[in-house]
Amino acid sequence: MIVLATSDKGGTGRSVTTSNLAYRRALQGDDVCYLDFDFGSPTAGAVFGIEAAGRGVKTGAGAHSYLLGDVAEPARIDIWRESSWLKKERPPGAGRLVLVAGDEGGGEFQVQPQMIERCQVLLARLTEEFDVILVDLSAGRSYAADIVQGATATIGAGTPVRWLVFHRWTRQHILAAHGLVFGERGIVQNGERLGYTREQMEDSIRFVRTAVQEPDSPQLGLLRPTQASWLHQCHEELLKLAAQRGLGRSMVAGVIPWDPVLQWREQIIRDLDIDSTQIANPETGQAFDDVALHLTRTSH
């Protein structure tokens, strides 16, 4: 399965959430690859705690260089072994967890037909090896996104392709995510141009709400009653808006609660951060686990 992670706006929590999903999915036993196609800001290395790839690799052998044809194969990093957050080895029962990082100073580029071909070859190779390939696309409409969507169109019907669209829980973010998916030259229209039906496209797209503070969450317990009721009202309005714009419950893959750890640092939340040091909230770990587990659910 190929999972394309995108968002309309920057800074929605796409990279951090996708990294945590990759980590959780590997712990659940699948072989997982994280492919960093956010050429403008390839941050996955930092989130996974890999020093040498903090803002992409410096070796000139990242995903960006591969698409440009500079290297025959992009470098791979074994996250279990290289991450400074983790224990330098694959936990028993877990699958492989591999990062194909971006290049430091990569940036955007014009699409050329060879790039789509190269991307297709790379994805085909990765699907031989990995159960789940998570691709972090940059925010908004990008060349990288066009390349990947083009490449996945001919990857073979047996390799499911899904989209996860990340957005924060605000009015502007809901409208923006709606536009990215359903708007003019959006993901659905692009898919239709590539030969998918509208139903197939809608079936393959799900939304993830990030850093959400539900009005009843314990963190909001200290609010004044007027604030609390205002918040409730806002939340209700957002739910209504989301439903109107095609982002309603049936289209949601998960809701990731706001978490203090992620507020202060982009990182993987391990069970020990929840159970031993208790710096992260158990609900956050649970939400990541649920979304990771349901990635392969065929119909929602």
Partner: protein, 369 residues
């Protein structure tokens, strides 16, 4: 373009026997939900319009594409870091075994140059799969360089093979729904001309090894002139013929195709071992125990019957398989894996039966009502 003999002598190396056959095989599970039939294999391997695909059905279905020939002019590997240019062609082909395992292999037989300067391309193209080495250094130095970690500006047979495998794997004929996740394996091989030291030599056993990066290496010494059969000391091999002034321009690289088939066969079996061993190793790991048993299912159904070492090897080369069965002992490891899978299946059936038994007993009286 027969080169004068003295020039052959002049460029012939002082150390290490020529020629040397270099190659790399990449092996993968075909990106398809199940084994594909002969027609599909034929279509998959038809790399050029109307190119012939060789198909065998016994003892195991196997399809081999025509040779894809590619001209190269690049630096050759060198163990001592010497600058040696190579000009000539490499030959690649794609193979599908049992409708299930896809391979691509590339090879080149390297000889010292027959003329001191570069010739016309037509001269090189006429001799497919042969690269002429322009520069100092012997066959040993070349082999040592090839087996060392790859350097970016040097002949890369692996990359050529990988691209050909990509072509097969991204074919629109495939549904992309492989039932298991497997890693492509890389097998590099070096066949050196046997018995150059003069005097009667005992045949050196083939050496098979796996390095830290997972690259497999197969080292062989065999007669590279003609059939690739095992040499005993009495036979005159090419290297001594070279020393006697054999005209290298007439050397056609016969026997390389048979050796290629052998290496592809070794690669298939090494790949099978790698895939099954990993599945079996994972059985012991908590917590996904039940899921893992299910994951073995496709391997049992689709891969176990493909074990047939030496099935496609030429009789002249059967000694290589005999030696490999002794060390590292491919079939011994396979037998232990298969035994482990049997045990695991027996256990899971037993577990299912006892669980069912309980339910059947409970359901029993209700049915009588």
């Amino acid at each position: 373009m027969t080169a004068p003999r003295h020039s052959t002598r002049r460029t012939a190396p002082t150390a290490g026997p020529w020629p040397v056959l270099l190659g790399e095989v990449r092996t993968a599970l075909l990106r398809h939900s199940r084994a594909v039939g002969v027609e599909t294999v034929e279509e998959l391997l038809e790399l050029a319009p109307a190119a012939t695909v060789r198909l065998t059905s016994r003892p195991l279905a196997r399809g081999v594409s025509t040779d894809v020939v590619e001209g190269v002019h690049c630096r050759l590997p060198s163990g001592s870091g010497r600058r040696v240019e190579g000009v000539g062609t490499i030959v690649s082909r794609a193979v599908v075994t049992g409708g299930r395992i896809a391979q691509a292999s590339s090879r080149a037989l390297v000889l010292p140059a027959t003329a001191p300067r570069r010739q016309n391309w037509s001269a090189y193209l006429a001799r497919q799969g042969i690269i002429e080495a322009l520069g100092p250094g012997g066959g040993d130095d070349l082999a040592a360089g090839f087996l060392a970690p790859h350097r970016p500006d040097v002949l890369d047979l692996g990359a050529v093979a990988n691209r050909l495998l990509d072509r097969v794997q991204t074919s629109l004929l495939l549904d992309g729904a492989s039932p298991l996740r497997t890693t492509r394996t890389r097998l590099r091989f070096v066949v050196a001309a046997a018995g150059s030291g003069g005097g009667p030599s005992t045949p050196a056993p083939p050496r098979f090894s796996v390095d830290v990066d997972g690259v497999r290496t197969l080292l062989l010494r065999a007669d590279l002139h003609g059939t690739g059969r095992e040499l005993d000391g009495a036979e005159t091999d090419l290297a001594t013929q070279v020393q006697k002034g054999l005209d290298l321009a007439e050397f056609d690289g016969g026997g390389a195709a048979e050796l290629m088939t052998l290496c592809e066969d070794v690669a298939v079996h090494d790949w099978l071992l790698t895939v099954l061993q990993r599945l079996v190793d994972n059985l012991d790991e908590a917590p996904a125990r039940n899921g893992r048993i299910e994951r073995i299912g496709p391997a049992i159904e689709q891969l176990l019957h493909l074990w047939m070492p030496g099935a496609h090897a030429e009789p002249e080369l059967s000694w290589v398989w005999s030696a490999l069965e002794g060390r590292p002992g491919f079939s011994r490891q396979w037998a232990s894996i298969v035994a482990r899978i049997r045990n695991e299946l027996d256990l899971s059936i037993l577990r299912a039966l006892t669980a069912d038994g309980g339910q059947a007993r409970r359901a029993g009286p209700a049915e009588e009502l």
